[in-house]
Symmetry: C2
Subunit: 442 residues, 2 copies
């Protein structure tokens, strides 16, 4: 086990016009930014100035939610497709990791392996893949299914999917591209190993038609919350996202996952835990809280209702009063862990539908002065609730600029984060090892 | 019917390290360019200097060919995935159309619609889609099939695929993205029309999660050669690639297709025919011919044999002498038109296997002085064998630079090509109309 000093890693969680569902309505938000490449380029440069390790694009292959009228108010109706956006961003950035979400439930391993390998080559070793199995119901309907595969089956498919993708990335051994003009040998045939995979869900001959990614494999991200999802993360993930309400919960998750990682025969130091962080920086704590309240004001009633409904189950809430209690919700094929978490929260704190909505609107959960926010990060990091954070800004670009200019300098002063990018790849910057290549047959 | 004066359009056909199978071995070729983004960026800038309308990336979802030893010598073993590469190129170019190949046989309409829409937004209206149904046998094996769908069925699936993709692009009516902060209305629900498609091959609810592409629809490219393929092109294509050995053949194709287009109820002026052109510029005709001979010398015996085999059928040629006649080849599920063309050519001219290989190696077919090459383009254009050309350079970047600096100025002087990019989108530069948006329901 390594003994290198830990350093705190940072990723920016970019979801549409901002993490807060009504963030786009904020007077300072750039509402049209979602489809403006110049805006994303500027944001990426701000994040590099703050030495963020990663820019992560959340994604679903559908509109984000499915009640069209409410959705029309949510600002999540349009966004660039992540792999195309990040490919474009690779040309205007130098160091930051570029993490795209792609689902294993509605894709083919060959396409996914190839696109991420291509992004890794374009970016000289900065690609990451957030592996998801799809939770938004509308995605199924865009791919000929009435609902998602059952939860366990989704993860079985994901297991095999990842196995095939890794084998495809390894199609060419490191160093087997010779490009020797004199002999006419472009690559060494001994270094080519097509997977010839035949499994329960996939039959893929290979090889991939692109040489091994600079990082060996792009960095694998994952965010399982259920038992099955966490076990999958422990087997495959290198950076694990998680949503945690308090430090105790984060510590339990952290300890539990690291143990599972070790049990799966992997080095726990090579799996980073990144709870999601919703910061909002103010000059004073009071100002920060006022900003949060302002954002909450912007959440339309229809949006509040749908936010709860889309996150916890299949019950139509239209007839329920927004300021009344959250009703019982029947079981469904949706993410159980999230539903249980939210329903538990609502019961425990006796929340109304609106109050629960505001808890999941993506509003700031850590609002305060730069010092207070830095303290929060330091505490969670040193107390082993986090190795890093997946930072979501309520709207863009202002709060991201504030975080970079006001919070990051404090983290630097405290020696928690690296001052500069030391590695030449995303993986190196995160302190993760490069997967070994197959040996070239003699 | 329009009466605007015709102008000649130009696309660059970029396939790996160059169009000639052994081009990468040329002393001046940049053999490592395929996975070097800076190289592609520089090439794109050269093409924009020459006011090329399009940069087209050919593609198959597999290694290009399948006998690994021969392939190891062909320089077609690795290349960027087209949509990721073109997204990156969109940031370093301003005017040129960016055309990616994607197969309808091994993709889902939702993913394809979305990625091209995303590229169209990233590039401010410069995306094009080369619709293919897959011909390389190895592709099937990467997607769980032992061979491709039967030829007619592939095109039936392609028909439905394109229909769904168009409907997805039209999910949002033009102008329905309001982003009105005051009312909280991000889009007008009346402008949203999910396709709710249910057909033989696909069930896709929609809507697409990105607003209507700047061009309405990205420009549709196609290259059918069979009766079925040409009929498909006449229904859907806006720029049609074709491989033609001589002017008479090109004229027959041109006239036939335009007639089919009209019969399909479309305006023939809105469908451009682009034969492929393999030019090689020399100071004198003799020098140009010497360059061709030099390239042919670089084709390794194994590559020559596989080139013939991979293009005409399933017969193993290993035991046949390279300098002997081309044997009879049994029927297969491969592109029949191409096999018949090549076998016909071999019989007619009594070609050996090696000679046939050199005809399809991608070597220059129009080698000469800049004037001679300009004459060729002018003749095919004015005699209605072509509306434009899909120009393949044997290796890169030299021959592309020569073409831009020596041939294009002559085309300008003769008034055949536009001096500058007049339109603000790819479609406008090609003189193609923007597909109408659905009306917003009142
Ligand atoms: C920070 C974070 C980001 C996530 N991003 C996505 C995403 O972009 N797309 C997606 O479909 N799911 C996303 N998810 C959902 C997870 O992939 C996963 O489905 C969810 O945590 C439920 O866990 P389970 O699959 O173990 O039930 C995200 C979850 C978290 C906590
Ligand atoms: C100039 C040109 C470019 C082509 N590019 C591709 C390509 O990138 N990928 C592909 O799978 N097929 C490509 N094709 C093959 C065609 O899509 C088509 O399959 C072929 O012309 C056979 O016609 P058919 O489908 O009507 O039998 C190309 C053909 C031509 C003439």
């Amino acid at each position: 086990m390594t003994t290198a000093p830990r350093t705190l890693s940072l990723g920016a969680f970019v979801q549409g016009a901002g993490g807060h569902i009504a963030g786009w309505r904020h007077p300072e938000a750039y509402a049209a930014g979602q489809l403006d490449f110049a805006f994303h380029a500027e944001l990426a440069r701000v994040l590099e100035r703050g030495r963020f390790d990663a820019l992560f694009i959340a994604d679903v292959a559908a509109l984000w939610g499915h009640q069209m009228d409410a959705l029309s108010r949510s600002g999540r109706a349009e966004h660039f497709e992540p792999l195309t956006l990040l490919s474009a961003l690779s040309t205007v950035t130098e160091h930051i990791g570029l993490v795209a979400t792609a689902t294993t439930t509605y894709n083919e391993p060959f396409h996914v392996a190839r696109k991420f390998a291509s992004l890794d080559h374009l970016s000289h070793g900065r690609a990451g893949w957030n592996i998801v199995t799809s939770v938004v119901p509308l995605e199924a309907a865009n791919f000929g299914r009435s609902e998602h595969l059952e939860h366990e089956l989704r993860y079985r498919r994901a297991d095999e999917f990842v196995e095939v993708v890794r084998a495809l990335w390894d199609s060419f051994a490191d160093g087997s591209l010779l490009r020797d003009k004199a002999s006419g040998s472009y690559y060494d045939p001994a270094g080519l190993r097509p997977p010839h995979h035949q499994g329960e869900h996939f039959t893929v001959r290979g090889p991939l038609n692109i040489s091994r990614p600079p990082q060996g494999h792009p960095v694998l991200f994952q965010a399982g919350s259920s038992q099955t999802g966490m076990a999958f993360g422990a087997r495959h993930g290198e950076v694990l996202f998680t949503l945690q309400a308090d430090l105790a919960g984060a510590q339990a998750f952290y300890a539990g996952v690291k143990k599972q990682v070790a049990a799966a025969g992997r080095n726990p130091d090579h799996v980073l835990i990144w709870p999601i962080l919703f910061p909002l920086v103010g000059g004073t704590e009071e100002e920060a809280r006022r900003k949060v309240a302002e954002l909450d004001e912007l959440v339309h009633d229809d949006v509040a209702r749908r936010l709860v409904q889309d996150n916890i189950g299949d019950l139509d809430l239209t007839e329920y009063p927004l300021d009344g209690p959250v009703p019982d919700i029947p079981d469904s094929n949706r993410s159980k862990s999230r539903r249980d978490l939210l329903l538990g929260l609502a019961r425990q704190e006796n929340l109304t539908i609106r109050q629960l909505a505001l808890r999941i609107s993506g509003g700031a959960t850590v609002a305060g002065t730069p010092e207070q926010i830095a303290d929060h990060l330091e505490l969670w990091f040193t107390e082993r609730g986090a190795d890093g954070f997946n930072v979501s800004f309520p709207y863009l670009p202002g709060p991201a600029v504030d975080f970079v200019d006001q919070v990051v300098p404090l983290l630097r002063k405290r020696g928690l984060v690296h001052e500069t990018y030391e590695g030449s790849t995303f993986r190196e910057n995160l302190g993760l090892p490069r997967p070994a290549s197959q040996e070239v047959a003699a």
